[in-house]
């Protein structure tokens, strides 16, 4: 019997989740368009802002557009193809991983691919539109964009998985994990030049907005081996952290030490 590789299996389960999220067409359309309008409005505010102030610590509108486009595109892909991350803490707390543990393939992959968020298509759409129309990118930037997008996505998902894994230790982790993820997005939607001191430290550690968008943006504007290496290192560190925390959490869960009911 041929065994499907993990990426191939992931693609199949994620495709199933996407098909499931698209089952209610009216809801999907409403959410996608709602998100498009919402994101478009926020961009308009920034356009007005930069029309008035021209620059924030060296950041101009096209830099802001690159940042906004990138974070929307990252949140979009995360929500569409890895949508299970959003409610992962609740999934853990509800004991829904029991069934996955009786099955042969890796649990984390199954958790991430169990859901797909309709609004994420709206994020992805706005993200791409902004990147194409306002970010001042050319074809030559495409490889750097692909690099930054992929790395930012991995750091974002890794941080979100780490936050959700807190559910293995803390009963109230559901809203905590969501809040931390939302804070990370919030910090990722402002010009990087505004952070200094403590806020800069937070943006490059606890809520890694720095590695989700700021370093990728810097790399796109001035590609250098140094910023590429830094981003790659961040990807490895955050992915390893997420895998480690999830693994330890799962071990703890299977020992029955997690804050969950037992039958």
């Amino acid at each position: 019997m041929a065994r499907l590789s993990l990426p191939a299996l992931y693609a199949r389960t994620a495709r199933a989740a996407i098909a499931g999220s698209a089952a209610d067409r009216a809801n999907l359309t409403l959410q996608v368009f709602g998100m498009l309008i919402n994101n478009g409005f926020m961009l308009t505010l920034w356009v007005l802002f930069f029309a008035g102030f021209h620059s924030v610590g060296g950041w101009r509108l096209r830099d802001m557009a690159l940042l906004t486009g990138l974070i929307y595109a990252i949140a979009g892909v995360a929500g569409v193809a890895f949508g299970g991350y959003r409610d992962m803490a609740a999934t853990i707390l509800n004991g829904e991983i029991d069934a996955l543990l009786t099955q042969p393939r890796p649990v984390l992959a199954r958790l991430l691919s169990r859901d797909s968020l309709p609004i994420a298509w709206g994020d992805l759409g706005t993200g791409l539109a902004i990147l194409i129309a306002f970010a001042g990118l050319t074809w030559r930037d495409l490889p750097a964009l692909a690099f930054g997008w992929t790395c930012g996505l991995i750091v974002y998902l890794s941080a979100a998985v780490t936050f959700a894994s807190l559910a293995f230790w803390v009963g109230g982790a559901r809203s905590l994990a969501r809040d931390l993820t939302d804070f990370m997005i919030l910090m990722s939607t402002y010009p990087g030049s505004i952070y200094s001191g403590a806020s800069r430290a937070i943006a490059y550690t606890l809520l890694p907005a720095g590695f989700v968008v700021l370093t990728p943006v810097a790399f796109l504007r001035r590609p250098s081996l140094e910023s590429a290496a830094m981003e790659a290192a961040a990807v490895i560190v955050y992915a390893a952290l997420a895998a480690g925390v999830f693994h330890f959490g799962l071990t703890r869960y299977r020992r029955g030490a997690s804050p969950l009911g037992a039958g």
Partner: protein, 281 residues
């Protein structure tokens, strides 16, 4: 004594039940203190980011830019007040949506006390508690980041204008909630209100920085009474005629909009309840 059924409830009765509702709302909000704490943390984080943004902007005086139009002391206090008010409004629209669409409203209509007065009063009670908690967080944030507190006169005015601003916020969300009589979800109306808060209410920046026509439109909207007018008080450096005029403008706008929104809500409520009684929901 003849026992005639009361034709109209007395104003004093309504006030009493509103007070009881407000007290219940405040008590519930206090009981959920971890949520309250989380809200304060969120507020501080948001303030950190927004303050950093405006500080950076005001250090750059590019030719032709608006930065020169920014107040000398920065926008920290302005942004602090808008978010202080905006984050303190309980999600009464979701409550109304649940009750109207979930059928709980019908049971309420049988009782003598007004459902709407009760819910709005609860929301106002919760709002005051949140204002207090977030207000303390704001003062701590200012102290910790080495910034000056607003002058005592301004603080005193905020204690009055802040809750009034909160009432307008509750009324705006009540309007959104009442849309549940006609639509399954209140979210669309809610999103429109949120956008208006940015555009006309000065949530992002003082509306005076916008094009003149937009600023003028904003100044005469309930959204400015909700956020801009209380916040702009902090841009007055000292007590004096400037501050007094500002405070009067704020109070006038807030009182006028409280009455107008209240009347509008009463009309819409009647129409909505009529729909329920006709069995159209």
């Amino acid at each position: 004594m003849k026992s005639t059924p009361p034709s109209e409830p007395h104003l004093a009765d309504i006030a009493r039940s509103a007070l009881a509702g407000a007290r219940a709302g405040a008590g519930q909000t206090l009981a959920g203190w971890p949520v309250l704490l989380g809200r304060a943390v969120f507020y501080v984080l948001l303030l950190t980011v927004l303050t950093a943004l405006w500080d950076k902007v005001s250090t750059e005086h590019l030719p032709g830019g608006l930065a020169g139009a920014l107040p000398r002391q920065g926008l920290t206090l302005y942004v602090g007040v808008t978010e202080w008010v905006a984050l303190s409004i309980p999600a009464i629209h979701l409550r109304l949506e649940d009750d109207i669409r979930g059928g709980a409203l019908e049971a309420w209509l049988l009782r003598p006390k007004s459902y709407l007065v009760q819910r709005v009063a609860e929301a106002c009670g919760g709002m005051v508690v949140r204002l207090a908690a977030t207000g303390v967080a704001a003062l701590l944030f200012l102290a910790a980041s080495g910034r000056a507190w607003p002058p005592l006169e301004v603080l005193g005015l905020l204690v009055v204008v802040g809750p009034l601003a909160g009432v307008i916020g509750v009324l705006l969300l009540t309007l959104a909630g009442l849309s549940a009589f006609w639509a399954r979800r209140t979210l669309p109306v809610m999103l429109v209100i949120q956008k208006m808060l940015f555009l006309l209410g000065g949530l992002f920046a003082p509306i005076t920085l916008y094009p003149t026509w937009l600023a003028r439109l904003g100044a005469f909207s309930p959204f400015a009474a909700h956020l801009y007018y209380p916040a702009v008080l902090t841009l007055q450096t000292a007590a004096g005629p400037g501050l007094r005029d500002m405070a009067l403008a704020a109070l006038a706008s807030q009182i006028a909009w409280t009455l107008l929104l209240g009347g509008l809500i009463a009309v819409i409520w009647r129409a909505g309840v009529a729909r329920v009684l006709r069995g159209e929901i």
